[in-house]
């Protein structure tokens, strides 16, 4: 394949280029020509095509995501906001914490193990790039029906990939979710969250400043993996048609990443970099253009210096390769010797590939010939922006107006059967078949992990400071009302932090949706962002960053709108953390919050294929009072557990089984509704008898309803006249996953 240089591009304006095959629209291609004043070279075309893709440019979502900035609550905690690799918040004592969720949905459907593994790898590098030591991961997951044959292919592969990569990095996996729904068949969601910690002064940014500073590539060698559209370009020139030349799913090597983490942290500790960027989606194209764009703009790169795993790669492919475990740093010449020394200590491949210039263009050469000469901002930050048409889905009014038709259990045997049916359903059943494949102990700082309400890690052994994180989404509610659904997910995540005793501080998100070209999907997305931005403003929690995943759609069927909301909180003394389950008998059980008949979008409705009705409305003022109550009553409580999917049935089941101590509960009103309704804003609390009065007084001060519902003890869960032996309940709860996937 002949080298296409900038010089050739200038003299052959009429050469036909495969922009459509690379995913660019005609007008986008024209805009590139206008920016450059000529046709792009094939390398430039490759760069623009990946950087202007939906995944990299956020072109469909940008106009909506602006609300997170416009409606941002005043917060002293935010140190680095949206736009960098990950947001950073101040958690006190000089510590800064960075956290972010990203999706790796499409690769995980094609190749579950590697897709999920490199999803962990990518988000961990984003956190590392901020200057932080990664300290924990979490993974919210969605799959097609649990008993579908393809789910048996995808789920075990995804779990093994998350474990295989995360365990080998030495990062505790402290939580996540697994939910099944028909709409995720063919569109599994694999979201990965990572949290990292550093001192304030260690924060690093992606910018290339200081002319004469060196551009250094370190980590794994570059191979032909993860090259998507560019193989089109490469084969086009050959005039070939047929299967893609290169595999489009990246292959991960966690050992290389672990070494890269330790090497990078040692480099950061000696303050040897001016700016740093990891190589993830769009590889070197992204890293060089974003670094240059974040600095003064000028950079020269000699592409032939990039160390290759596969010497046959073309320059276009090198620019686009998404080979994992690579980082790009900007280093002052006076510090390069020490930088190289540390890389040598860790056996990390390192190469100086270019330098920062005082110009304003990113110039890439291949054996002396200029193949890229572009203003970097036009590649990295000034991509197309679309205000896509949106329309409320036609079916929604009818769906919301629907009177629910779900069989409710009417007598004691039916109640008992309903509890066992609900708790053995794949969505509600015990997930330890999954979490047992993840290391939760490594680093020795894990205070809480699954199945607790939130994951919690200690960040200082001497002062006992810690952080808690929860990720939540209720897509069934978002489907019925995306605006309220986003607020409800936010409220649930914040509540799950507070039950453990941590104060909610900041928000991240991963917004998983169908095709943005479908106006109904775009409306769901816009409503979700509006709801989340309004909710964050009301709750005083800044959005620190996030990720958008579109095109989770098979044919006309989009996934349920699935905004995964992650909330991070701070706990001053992890020794005071509150577990979800009681470990002694003779405690009093109280329900905080009111129960209404909220069955629309519930798990009980899902089990009966009922999608209709009205989602509950979010009462965020009330949720904030509940959070205040939880934080203030910390020292009074013995255990606390959120009430969410599966209602009180799930909360009580999980509480009694965790430490094998039963409970006797008396519920007023219609028992089926009391057990199956999913009214938000509720928590079950276990307290010693003598602490009950102070708790009731605090609840009254915060205007939160409090109801005595029972006592702990015994070997059964007894609700009114329905008794379930713990062994029977446990068999139903824990049998499902091994039966399906074991």
């Amino acid at each position: 394949m002949a080298l296409d240089t900038v010089a050739i591009a200038s003299t052959t304006p009429d050469q036909v280029q495969p922009f459509a095959e690379l995913g660019l629209k005609g007008d986008e291609y024209q805009r590139i020509r206008e920016i450059l004043g000529r046709r792009p070279s094939s390398s430039e075309l490759a760069m623009y095509s990946v950087m202007w893709s939906e995944h990299c440019s956020y072109k469909s979502s940008k106009v909506h995501l602006r609300q997170f900035g416009e409606k941002a609550p005043k917060s002293d905690a935010l140190l680095v906001g949206i736009g960098e690799n990950a947001g950073v918040v101040d958690v006190g004592q000089g510590y800064a914490v960075t956290f972010k969720i990203e999706s790796h949905n499409h690769p995980s459907f094609i190749e579950p193990y590697q897709g999920a593994a490199t999803g962990i790898g990518g988000i961990v590098r984003d956190i590392l790039t901020m200057g932080a030591r990664p300290i924990a991961v979490m993974d919210p997951l969605r799959f097609g029906p649990a008993d579908a044959p393809d789910t048996r292919r995808v789920l075990p592969g995804v779990i093994a990939g998350i474990g295989g990569y995360g365990n080998c990095l030495g990062l505790p996996n402290i939580g996540g979710e697994i939910i099944f729904d028909q709409t995720y068949a063919g569109n599994p969601l694999v979201n990965a969250l990572c949290v990292g910690v550093m001192r304030h002064e260690q924060i690093k940014l992606a910018k290339a400043s200081g002319p004469g500073n060196l551009v250094v590539l370190f980590g794994a060698k570059t191979g032909g993996d993860g090259i998507g559209g560019v193989s089109v370009l490469a084969s086009e020139t050959f005039g070939a048609s047929g299967p893609a030349k290169r595999p489009s799913v990246q292959v991960g090597d966690p050992f290389t990443e672990k070494v890269l983490i330790e090497c990078s942290l040692e480099i950061f500790a000696e303050d040897l970099v001016v700016g740093i960027q990891d190589l993830g989606g769009a590889g070197l194209s992204c890293a060089t253009s974003e670094l240059a764009s974040g600095g003064s703009g000028g950079m020269e790169v000699e592409l032939e210096k990039v160390p290759l795993r596969d010497p046959s790669l073309s320059p276009e492919e090198i620019l686009m390769s998404e080979s994992q475990e690579r980082m790009c740093a900007i280093v002052e010449p006076s510090k390069i010797a020490r930088f190289l020394e540390i890389c040598e200590k860790w056996d990390v491949t390192v190469t100086v590939i270019g330098k920062v210039t005082d110009g304003d263009r990113l110039i890439i050469t291949w054996h002396g010939e200029v193949i890229v000469d572009v203003p970097p901002r036009t590649v990295a930050h000034e991509g197309p922006v679309y205000n896509r048409p949106m329309a409320k889905p036609g079916y929604l009014d009818q769906l919301n107006a629907k009177v629910l038709d779900i069989p409710m259990p009417k007598n004691n045997p039916e109640i008992k059967a309903a509890i066992l049916k609900l708790m053995s359903s794949a969505n509600m059943a015990d997930k330890s078949w999954v979490t047992a494949q993840y290391d939760k102990y490594v680093q020795g700082n894990t205070i809480q992990s699954q199945p607790q309400d939130s994951g919690m890690v200690r960040i200082d052994e001497n002062t006992h400071l810690g952080v808690a994180i929860s990720t939540d989404a209720n897509a069934s509610w978002s489907y019925l009302n995306p605006y309220e659904g986003a607020k409800l997910a936010l409220a649930e995540a914040a509540r799950n932090i507070a039950t453990a005793g941590a104060k909610p501080l900041a928000v991240t998100n991963c917004l998983n949706f169908g095709s943005p070209e479908d106006p109904a999907v775009m409306w769901q997305f816009a409503e979700t962002v509006r709801g989340l931005a309004d909710g964050c403003l009301e709750m005083g929690l800044p959005v620190t960053g996030g990720n958008v995943s579109f095109y989770n759609q098979t044919g006309d069927v989009a996934i349920l709108p699935t905004p995964i909301i992650g909330v991070l909180g701070v706990i001053q003394d992890v020794r005071t953390h509150m577990p979800m389950s009681f470990d002694v008998a003779d405690l009093e059980l109280y329900l905080l919050g009111e129960t209404r008949a909220d069955l629309a979008g519930s798990q009980w409705a899902y089990l009966h294929n009922e999608r209709g009705g009205q989602a509950p409305l979010a009462h965020l003022k009330n949720e904030m009072s509940l959070i205040d109550l939880l934080l203030e009553s910390q020292s009074l409580c013995n255990a606390r557990h959120d009430v969410s999917q599966g209602g009180l049935t799930a909360t009580l089941t999980e509480m009694v089984l965790e430490n094998n101590i039963g409970a006797t509960v008396t519920l007023e009103g219609d028992l089926a509704t009391a057990l199956l309704s999913e009214t938000p804003g509720r928590v079950v609390v276990a307290v010693h008898k003598e602490k009950a009065q102070p708790l009731i007084a605090l609840a009254s001060k915060h205007k939160i309803a409090i109801t005595r519902i029972g006592d702990t003890g015994g070997k059964s869960l007894t609700i009114n006249d329905v008794a379930l032996e713990l062994n029977e309940l446990r068999a139903a709860f824990t049998g499902t996953f091994p039966k399906l996937f074991g």
């Binding site: 080998c168 047992a436 102990y441």
Partner: protein, 223 residues
């Protein structure tokens, strides 16, 4: 008292092992895989992790690290050495301990609290336990199934060199439920579950693991 903790590329539980040494009242000394100098430590821990990415076989490459040359040599003259998980695998590959650790019977990585029984309280790392004490410490590995030939097994059993055995269901298919063994001299111990993750009930399932680390201090004082 100084206890060395080796860091290979890919070691993960080295900080945890160092913390356990501190909790026991000794001073942890970080040993780097490329450095054959043991810096005068009184005992050595080979921590858990995936040294060299478990390439080839778990522990097969680490065995050849410069630091191992010194450790193998000094272990033969009595230096107390504890290999935890990947460290146990390295000790087997180094032939300081017999047998091998193979893929778990269920083929999954497994992580969770594990009940084991301490059956040998004469080794350098278990002398502070009461005979047959049942303890709970985390088990977390993908290749933890202890295998050896029949004559080695018979020898380990007859010489009382099984230091700990899994209780309840066999978690990984190990022969005779073996969770840990010692060499004939009692100074080199390999154990698959992780005592260093059970030194503080805030972060682990118990504090049962601490006695491994206090044991070695006692055995050193007694010398």
């Amino acid at each position: 008292m100084k206890v060395g903790v080796v860091t290979f590329p890919g070691s993960l539980d080295d900080q945890d092992a160092a913390r356990a040494v501190r909790f026991a009242g000794a001073t942890p000394v970080s040993l780097w895989h490329r450095d054959s100098d043991l810096h005068g430590v009184d005992a050595v821990i080979l921590p858990g992790g995936f040294s060299y990415g478990d390439y080839l076989r778990c522990g097969a490459i680490s065995r050849f690290a410069p630091v191992m040359t010194s450790i193998i040599e000094q272990a033969k003259s009595g230096l107390p050495v504890l290999g935890i998980c990947n460290g146990f695998q390295i000790l087997c590959e180094s032939h300081l301990l017999p047998g091998a650790l193979t893929r778990n019977q269920g083929l999954h990585f497994l992580c969770g609290p594990q009940k084991i029984r301490i059956e040998n309280t004469t080794s350098a790392w278990t002398s502070n336990f009461v005979q047959n004490r049942e303890i709970v410490i985390p088990l977390k590995n993908g290749e933890g199934s202890f295998q050896c030939d029949d004559s080695t097994l018979a020898q380990l059993e007859s010489e009382g060199r099984v230091i700990a055995r899994y209780m309840g269901e066999n978690p990984n298919g190990s022969r005779n439920l073996i969770a840990g063994i010692t060499n004939a001299r009692g100074n080199v111990v390999g154990i698959m579950p992780h005592p260093e993750h059970a030194i503080d009930s805030l972060t682990g399932p118990s504090t049962d693991g601490l006695a491994f680390f206090t044991s070695v201090l006692n055995s050193l004082v007694g010398k």
